[in-house]
Symmetry: C2
Subunit: 155 residues, 2 copies
């Protein structure tokens, strides 16, 4: 644990960290929104596309995005109109509509992710130990919901 650097100040309080997390979250979304806008997508459209790395029901999208089903309908409508996603009735339950990326949608997601990782240049500057520590610490502050299923988590 390379932690020999003299501590410049006292350890931050939880409140100070809360503020820093706020700034970090805002910075993350600023970066994401910029990347999405370069593809003519709004923040929400970009978020939804990124969630769809595996097909999923609209209900699930609404849960992950913490918004109402009718809102998801609107967003999917607009993405569908642009040829980025399509709806598909689930075989096991005809009420359920799965949303899938089209080829174009997958390409768009790939490009967004590539640009996003570029925009988070600071990540590349972390060594393996730092990255492990960050994963652990973030995992403690934001525990993953009892591992339900999806690898594509909320974003």
């Amino acid at each position: 644990m390379t932690q020999s650097a003299p501590r410049p100040a006292a350890a931050p309080t939880p409140v100070e960290l809360m503020d820093q997390l706020a700034r970090a979250a805002a910075a993350y979304y600023r970066c994401f929104a910029t990347v999405a806008a370069e593809r003519g997508l709004t923040l929400m459209q970009g978020k939804m596309l990124s969630l769809l790395r595996t097909p999923m029901p609209m209900r699930t999208l609404a849960d992950l995005l913490a918004c109402d089903a009718s809102n998801v309908t609107g967003i999917v409508d607009r993405l569908e109109a642009r040829g980025l996603v399509r709806r598909e009735v689930a075989a096991a339950d005809r009420r359920v509509k799965n949303v899938l990326l089209t080829e174009q949608g997958e390409q768009t997601v790939r490009l967004i992710r590539a640009e996003l990782i570029s925009g988070l240049a600071g990540l590349d500057q972390l060594d393996a130990e730092d990255r492990s520590a960050l994963r652990r610490l973030l995992g403690q502050v934001f525990p993953e919901p009892a591992a339900t299923t999806t690898a594509a988590a909320a974003r």
Copy 2:
């Protein structure tokens, strides 16, 4: 350092961390939105109130929130209508409108912050060393803009 748990796997890649950051940011905003909604505020209204711990010009709000000035006008209008903020012409430049929290607005911000820190229970479980590490790591991934002025950073 209570870290006797066996290291489960190799260090995460930057891409894996990017995804975790996305999930963390989403979780943070879910928490924040819930707290704001309990006060009858939308996410943006809550964000703006939280930024206003010191008075600032609308131009500054637009910069921090990364949105258009006209959008800020609308949000301030609605907050002003609810008695949470007020506008004040700056003495040095009559074009400039500073936005200030009212007493009621300050109270609201205090309550929001108190509830938010409660909702981020994981922060309290970090010891001082972890908190310092998290501060350092977040600071590397999301460098603060060349320290301009405000303590109330973007949120």
